[in-house]
Structures are given as structure tokens and as C-alpha cells.
């Protein structure tokens, strides 16, 4: 089971957003982060806990291993609002997603 915190994060443009994801048991570094804009499919941002997917700005960084992970977005931009999901693929099937953190612009 993956839990994410906070449920909702309000951030002013240009500020840093810090999102957390916790696993109920170790997933080693087999964790990814996705961003879903309203009305769109999720897009892969980070995999292997800290590897940026092609096209992911360097302002996005992932850290952690085992059970505790963090996604940090520095200098948040207005079009980066939406839902952020973590996803563990250490145990597949089935692989599980966290419930998501909603990022809003303050």
C-alpha cells in the first residue's frame, strides 16, 4: 500500500513543492512519479526513485529508497498544477499507485 502526503498542496508560482510517498513495505528504488493535468492522461516524470524521464525538467527531483520517497519541484510553474501520483512496480503483478497529491496554485 502506498500513501501520499499531503492530500492537497497550495504553492505560489516560483516556490518549491515537496511531495511525499510512503510504502507499507520496502519497494527498494522501484518507484515512479507521474503528473496528471486535468483532462489528460498521467505522464511519467521520475522512475527508479530519482531518474528523470525524457522531457522532465531538472526542476523535478526524486529521492528516497525502501519505504520513504520524496518528489521536489523547485520554482513551480502555473501549468504544473494537477495530480501527482507515486507508483511502485517492485511487486508486479499488480503494481500499485498512491492516492495522489493535488497541487494547486496559491
Amino acid at each position: 500500500v502506498l500513501t501520499q502526503s499531503p492530500d492537497t498542496l497550495s504553492v505560489s508560482p516560483g516556490e518549491t513543492a515537496t511531495l511525499s510517498c510512503r510504502a507499507s513495505q520496502s519497494v527498494r528504488r522501484n518507484l515512479a512519479w507521474y503528473h496528471q493535468k486535468p483532462g489528460q492522461a498521467p505522464r511519467l516524470l521520475i522512475y527508479g526513485a530519482s531518474t528523470r524521464a525524457p522531457g522532465t525538467p531538472v526542476r523535478f527531483s526524486g529521492s528516497g529508497s525502501g519505504t520513504d520517497f520524496t518528489l521536489t519541484v523547485t520554482s513551480l510553474q502555473s501549468d504544473e498544477i494537477g495530480l501527482y501520483y507515486c507508483h511502485q512496480y517492485n511487486n508486479w503483478p499488480p503494481g500499485t499507485f498512491g492516492p495522489g497529491t493535488r497541487v494547486e496554485v496559491k
Binding site: 515512479a32 498521467p42 508486479w92 503483478p93 499488480p94
Partner: protein
């Protein structure tokens, strides 16, 4: 451009059957695990299963709770993957995304379709 193009929205009645599709282009469709993820409002995202179209037997792998509830198949010649139900239930109402695994099944999803909304209602 790499993309997964999904079939359109469906409105069905409980008990009916349905098969939705996902066609890949711009990459070697046969060599990647292609999966299905659903999004149920209030329940979040769930992985249903995946298939590698180019495998000799094209065996699908399923989340245990979906085994026997859906069938995942693929046609290598048309670069298309399918998700099928024989008997729909209201609880199958969801947005269904076709996804590409980055590598093997124990890897994240690096390409997503736009989704197929399935509504099951009497």
C-alpha cells in the same frame, strides 16, 4: 511520434460485452509490454494487467483481482492491444488507459493513451 491511440467512449448496459482497443505507432509495438490501467473516481489508479504482443503465445499477466474478469489480448499484425469483458457490471465504470511498460512488467509506464471512458448503466 510514439503514441497509443485508444478507441472511443462506450456506454453499455450491465450484462453486455465489450472490447476496447489500443493501437500503437512510432515504436516497436511487438517488443514492449502493453498494459491497461483504470481510474475509478474515489478509488484511484489500478493496474489490470499486461501483454507482450510479440511473444509466441502472447500470454497476458493479470492483477489477481481481475483474473477471470477481463481478457487482455493483442494482434501483432495490426499493432493493437485489446481489453475485453464478457459480462459488464456497473462497477466496471471507469476511465481505462492503455500504457507501455518502460522495460519488463516490473517497470513504470512511459507512454499512455488518452483513455477510453467506459460507462455501464441500466
Amino acid at each position: 511520434e510514439e503514441q497509443l491511440v485508444q478507441s472511443g467512449a462506450e456506454l453499455k448496459k450491465p450484462g453486455e460485452s465489450l472490447k476496447i482497443s489500443c493501437q500503437g505507432s512510432g515504436f516497436d509495438f511487438s517488443s514492449f509490454w502493453i498494459g491497461w490501467v483504470r481510474h475509478v473516481p474515489g478509488r484511484g489508479l489500478e493496474c489490470l494487467g499486461a501483454i507482450i504482443p510479440g511473444a509466441a503465445t502472447a500470454n497476458a499477466r493479470y492483477r489477481p483481482s481481475f483474473q477471470g474478469q477481463v481478457t487482455i489480448s493483442a494482434d501483432e499484425s495490426t499493432r493493437t492491444a485489446y481489453l475485453e469483458w464478457t459480462t459488464l457490471k456497473a462497477s466496471d465504470t471507469a476511465m481505462y488507459y492503455c500504457v507501455r511498460h518502460l522495460r519488463s512488467t516490473d517497470s513504470p509506464f512511459d507512454l499512455w493513451g488518452r483513455g477510453t471512458l467506459v460507462t455501464v448503466s441500466s
